[in-house]
């Protein structure tokens, strides 16, 4: 599988970091793209730093692939600029941009061997036959496919094909690596394995990388920065922890992981009234007292205790259904004071300790630090 020999860093050195981050690897300003009357991208502004692994994450049709293709020059934007390492590439044709790309389908050349696929982009470079051969050998070693060099793509497994595509894209040492859902066509097991290998390889080579994905787990596990997109605009940019813990919009809150949404009304700058009770909320976004808000809390962040235990601010709730999910239990509970059902996750330990059945009464607590309120208007 992927292994990175010591020599590899010497041959494909990470591009030198520009002095103080003044010139990012990629700077996008005011980028828009429409297909007919449909706005696929609208006013995109984004900076990507050298050596970062960035994921464009969003549901299908959100514009993430369109953005990637605009960066590659495959589907040029209608408006806006793209600078790569300080150079304006907005109007450059594909062949004069500096990137390697891996598609979901890999787009391997079916009539060329693995070796010649990888060497495809090395013919323009001023390399001798031996140098080219050495470079191909080293790339194949890097992705662990030396023994497959003479085979054709159709003779390889999906995961192997993916690694050939990766080696081919990296062969000319591009300044930017673009990955368009590179793992989506693979089986779950292979996908998990390859995504870690991909991450390790990227770290080692230091090549700035953008990966488009609709899989939030993939994005959370691999990215330095996640760009969450929806309906042609960027909803939030941040580290995986930031977008997960502090979503900037109800869309982001709902898209990454499970989330309970509870309609409420702001009571003060740091509390809301919901149903017949009041809750303290640490994170109130642009909310003034009296506003209608959407209150969010993740199922795993809700604290559950037995009828006697409970925190002082706890609310009584009745367990309606229980489903076993392997490492945890998912309960759906009905809380009268809040006036709606909630999803709750508890560990197996808590499950054993509390001995809950359908119909049991429990006390639930919603810590202020885990609650977020979004202005509905």
């Amino acid at each position: 599988m992927l292994n990175v020999p010591d020599g590899i860093a010497k041959l494909s050195p990470p591009k030198p970091m520009t002095d103080d981050g003044g010139t990012p690897a990629l700077r996008i300003r005011g980028l828009s793209k429409s297909f007919g009357g449909f706005m696929a991208l609208e006013g995109i502004d984004l900076d990507i730093e050298q050596g970062e692994f960035v994921c464009f994450l969003g549901p299908s049709g959100c514009g993430k692939t369109t953005l990637l293709r605009a960066i590659a020059g495959l589907d040029p934007q209608n408006r806006g600029t793209i600078h790569q390492g300080g150079r304006d590439i907005s109007r450059l044709p594909v062949t004069r941009r500096d990137f390697g790309i891996v598609f979901q389908s890999y787009a391997l050349f079916p009539n060329l061997t693995v070796e010649r696929n990888v060497a495809y982009g090395l013919h323009g470079a001023r390399l001798s036959r031996e140098q080219r051969k050495a470079r191909v050998g080293e790339l194949l070693a890097m992705v662990g496919l030396e023994s497959q060099a003479a085979k054709y793509p159709a003779q390889l497994s999906g995961g192997q094909q993916q690694r050939v595509a990766l080696a081919r894209a990296l062969a000319p040492s591009p300044g930017l690596l673009l990955l368009d859902e590179p793992l989506s066509a693979l089986d779950a097991q292979v996908r998990l394995h390859l995504r870690d290998q991909l991450r390790r390889l990227q770290r080692c080579l230091g090549v700035t990388t953008i990966m488009v994905t609709h899989d939030q787990d993939e994005a959370l596990a691999t990215a330095d920065q996640i760009v969450v997109m929806n309906q042609g605009v960027i909803e939030q940019v941040g580290t995986p922890e930031e977008v997960f813990e502090r979503p900037a919009s109800p869309f982001v809150a709902g898209f990454l992981g499970d989330m309970n949404f509870i309609p409420a009304v702001a009571a003060s700058r740091n509390s809301v009234s919901v149903g017949t009770t009041q809750l303290d909320v640490a994170d109130m976004k642009d909310v003034s007292p009296g506003d209608e808000v959407k209150l969010c809390i993740r199922p795993a962040d809700i604290v559950v205790e037995g009828p006697s235990g409970g925190p002082p601010t706890g609310l009584e709730a009745v367990v309606e259904t229980i489903s076993f999910r392997g490492n945890f239990y998912r309960l759906s509970v009905n809380c009268h004071r809040i006036g709606q059902g909630l999803d709750v996750e508890i560990t197996r330990g808590a499950w054993e300790r509390l001995a809950i059945d359908a119909g049991s009464v429990v006390i639930i607590g919603m810590p202020a630090s885990k609650l977020i309120a979004f202005n509905v208007a």
Partner: protein
């Protein structure tokens, strides 16, 4: 770190990607293709249409020519003759081809591969051949003339039999395709719902065939309506539009009326073209590419009936072919039936002798060579090069027109267009170049669609990856696209060669003394009552077509075996 920088106005200038040299070259290729279609197709058609609306001096007279044409009492007779022949032939062909296709796909009769191969034999023959064979069989001195119960072969009887033979494989292929795409699960569902065999046929099989039958009847109808080869041989004194057109233009030099008849010939084909387009649109949504292939259950009665039926049809097809071969070998039919090759001594019968056959080979070779290159690269430009979308759409539409354009109409329009003294391309008139050009244009659509289908199956990212690796599109085209599509390219070349060998319609207006081709020679020999040599020349054409198809098959197999490692499973 990633930051969302302050928003910049989105009302900046519209971005235009700079052209690279490669883009300019590709754009020029696209324009060249557009010019080719303009000169080879659109302008000639335009000239023909405008000629139909002009008097002999070039003054616009509206529909006056049509009024004049139909006021001749003979004219409407010709028109109705054509219509009657076409309807009758279509009904018969459809009935036979429909049953035959059903037997091939929905029975387990033995010899299905053989029956399928025999059914395709007429594709190798010029449409002149069935007529000639029919004369030997049922003509005034034919072996089985009694079988017609006193009716004369020359006229509607001969034309209809010949046309059914000629159009049978076309209808069969279309209907068979529609039968093959029926999902087995539909039959299983019908059985599970306790539908009987008859009910299943009417609720599953027939509805699925409907589109195929519709398309096949359009194709058959237009083929018969515009065919020249069968009526010119066995039409006798029964005029149809195609032979009438030939006589008006070649016999009477009446170009105005020729243009009128040409336009009349074009009408049903144009209607079929539009109707087919509309039908196709409704159809595409209901087709599932992953249908499970139907495997018929055992049924002895059905299989026996199918076997009997197919045997009779196959026998009829083979006897026409065998009769033509025998006819070419008789020393002096019907007086001396000993066999000899004297009919192949063409120089004794025709001034051009074997030259006509050599011209046909030259023509077919050139059409296969230039046509394949043009069609495949043209389809590549349309399918896989981004940009200039309106131009590509317009060209894509023009590429479909030849399907609706009868060969005779194309040939006639070439006379009008290229024979005009003011045409700078007039120099090609009378040379083999105009034959090549007209044949490439005439045959353009089918190989174009074949090429498009193959190109659509390539991964859409191939060129993008190539470009990202700084390899030009032309290099990727040569190193990847062409090798991968080689079987398709071979198929296109063989299609073009074979059809150039057998075609007559456009060429009959365009040949000159030096460029007479084999099919024209057959017409002339037959006109001069030299049936033996006409049969011999036809047989030569069939033999050549068959050789090319065999060669293509061998090459294909060799190629597929050699490239099996990377092609995986592919037929």
């Amino acid at each position: 770190m990633v930051d969302q920088a302050p928003a910049v106005s989105i009302h900046g200038p519209k971005v235009r990607i700079a052209f690279s040299g490669e883009d300019v070259l590709l754009r020029l290729c696209l324009i060249a293709l557009a010019l080719f279609l303009l000169i080879g197709l659109l302008l000639p058609i335009y000239t023909l249409l405008s000629k139909g609306l002009q008097d002999a001096n070039g003054n616009f007279v509206g529909l006056l020519n049509f009024v004049t044409y139909f006021s001749e009492p003979r004219a409407s007779v010709v028109f109705w003759n054509s219509l009657r022949i076409s309807v009758l032939s279509t009904v018969l062909t459809l009935a036979i081809a429909g049953l035959y296709a059903f037997a091939l796909t929905h029975s387990r009769m033995p010899g299905r591969v053989f029956f399928r191969a025999v059914a395709l034999v007429p594709l190798l023959t010029p449409s002149l051949l069935p007529g000639i064979a029919l004369i030997y069989l049922f003509g005034n001195q034919g072996f089985f003339r009694g079988a017609l119960f006193g009716h004369s072969l020359y006229g509607p009887v001969g034309i209809v039999i010949g046309e059914v033979f000629f159009t049978f494989p076309i209808a069969l292929l279309i209907v068979q395709t529609s039968l093959l795409t029926i999902d087995r699960r539909l039959y299983e569902a019908a059985t599970a719902l306790r539908a009987g065999r008859l009910r299943t046929f009417f609720t599953v099989t027939l509805p699925a065939m409907r589109f195929g039958l519709g398309a096949a009847s359009f194709a058959t109808f237009t083929k018969v309506f515009t065919d020249f080869g069968v009526p010119v041989v066995v039409g006798g004194s029964y005029p149809v539009l195609a032979t009438d057109l030939y006589q008006k233009v070649i016999g009477g030099f009446d170009f105005q009326m020729g243009a009128v008849v040409g336009i009349l010939l074009f009408i049903p084909a144009a209607v079929a073209f539009v109707a087919g387009h509309l039908l196709q649109r409704g159809r595409s949504a209901s087709v599932d590419g992953r249908a499970v292939v139907y495997v018929p259950a055992k049924s002895q009665a059905r299989d026996l009936a199918c076997l009997l039926f197919c045997s009779v049809v196959a026998l009829a097809i083979l006897s026409i072919l065998v009769m033509a071969v025998l006819g070419s070998l008789f020393k002096l039919w019907p007086y001396n039936l000993s066999l000899s090759f004297s009919s192949y001594n063409f120089a004794e019968y025709e001034p051009s002798g074997w030259g006509a056959y050599r011209n046909s080979l030259r023509l077919s070779g050139m059409v296969a060579l230039f046509g394949t290159a043009l069609v495949f690269f043209g389809a590549y430009l349309l399918e896989r090069v981004p940009g200039a979308s309106w131009l590509r759409q317009a060209i894509g539409f023009c590429c479909m027109i030849p399907l609706a354009l009868p060969g005779m109409v194309l040939g006639l329009s070439y006379i009008f267009f290229f024979n005009s003294p003011s045409n700078p391309f007039g120099g090609i008139y009378g040379t083999i170049a105009i034959l090549v050009l007209s044949t490439v244009v005439h045959l353009y659509t089918v190989p174009h669609l074949t090429a498009l289908t193959a190109l659509k199956q390539l991964d859409p990212g191939l060129e993008a990856v190539g470009s990202s690796l700084k390899v030009s599109r032309f290099a990727t085209f040569g190193r990847v696209v062409v090798p991968v599509c080689l079987p398709t390219i071979l198929r296109i070349a063989s299609y073009l060669f074979m059809n150039s060998m057998t075609t007559i319609s456009a060429l009959v207006f365009l040949y000159s003394a030096n460029t007479k081709v084999a099919t024209v020679s057959v017409v002339l020999l037959n006109d001069n009552a030299m049936l033996g040599p006409a049969a011999a020349m036809s047989v030569l054409i069939v033999a050549t077509s068959a050789t090319v198809v065999g060669l293509q098959w061998l090459l294909m197999h060799g190629l597929l075996r050699r490239t099996q490692a990377w092609r995986g499973r592919e037929s």
